[in-house]
Symmetry: C2
Subunit: 194 residues, 2 copies
Amino acid sequence: MAAAARLVATNGFHATSMADIISESGLSAGAVYRYFRSKEELIGSVAETALSTADEAFADLLADGATPSPEQAVTAMITAITDRIVCDPVTGIDLTRIGMQVWSEALRNPELSARANEVYRRLRGNFAEVVRRRQAAGTLPADADPEQVGAAMLSLVQGFILQRLLVTDTDTGGYLAGMRVLLSGTPVFSRAAD
Amino acid sequence: MAAAARLVATNGFHATSMADIISESGLSAGAVYRYFRSKEELIGSVAETALSTADEAFADLLADGATPSPEQAVTAMITAITDRIVCDPVTGIDLTRIGMQVWSEALRNPELSARANEVYRRLRGNFAEVVRRRQAAGTLPADADPEQVGAAMLSLVQGFILQRLLVTDTDTGGYLAGMRVLLSGTPVFSRAAD
């Protein structure tokens, strides 16, 4: 998995073959194929480690019936990414780079496309649970669709991943500060004027 | 440009060569190379047409000293994408697919990386102008950094592009409704309880 992650992060998914991965791993072909039938499966397993990190962060966030705000939930996810996913403890590489490779490859690879769909629905579902709890607590409108609000929250994380890799002056603290202002809504004093 | 867009949208940037593009275009190599030295330049020009659409949408949004809300600005961009960019009038193809190919290729292609950085700073700068006008009107906190708030607004557009292509039940109306709830902030009646 570490060999696959290194090669895909450096050369892209398309340009990486199972033979390259086997060679990079230093294992025999038989040893690798015993566990993984394809590079899609290998990268799926790498993605699974990043997702477990996200799941743990959501579990912490939602423990003991907590009702975190959308801002707190997005902050927790972005913190988990910068603390644990940009330097994965198992592979030592930035798993968000793998994510971006998978996004583009999924456009023409049905197996990756199905996995990406599943992954993003799971993450969106976690954000939707944050929304449901706020609705139950009366701090988000009861008639909002939790999955739709969750989709917008997921975007704030996906956009961070993208901008962190592609926009040179993106820093985590600044991004979170901007997100906080955006999510704080129209200040009360001026709401009547809108 | 249409030939390049078709091939990159279908096969990816990496797997598309200048020779493929020339063949697909039906033009001579000389005719193509007279205008474009590389596939990076070609795709840069295709991206430029999508960006012009975004610039026009921002120009409309900000005409006559208007002070649109962040929600209105994000909605205008997403509407421009679904109306004009997912089916580009010149190439007939979905330019957001090209965008996703460029995102991943930019991780290992310095020329594309420089272009992506420039493009996203320009878009973020447009959103930052929306923030500045709201600050001047007193409807966003004066001490917020416009570029940082603009980065979060840009994420809501980037995440939409990504989810529209990779999450099967993403629909534009639902996404905009969820974004609207997220950006409306904590309702006034419960703010004291937080």
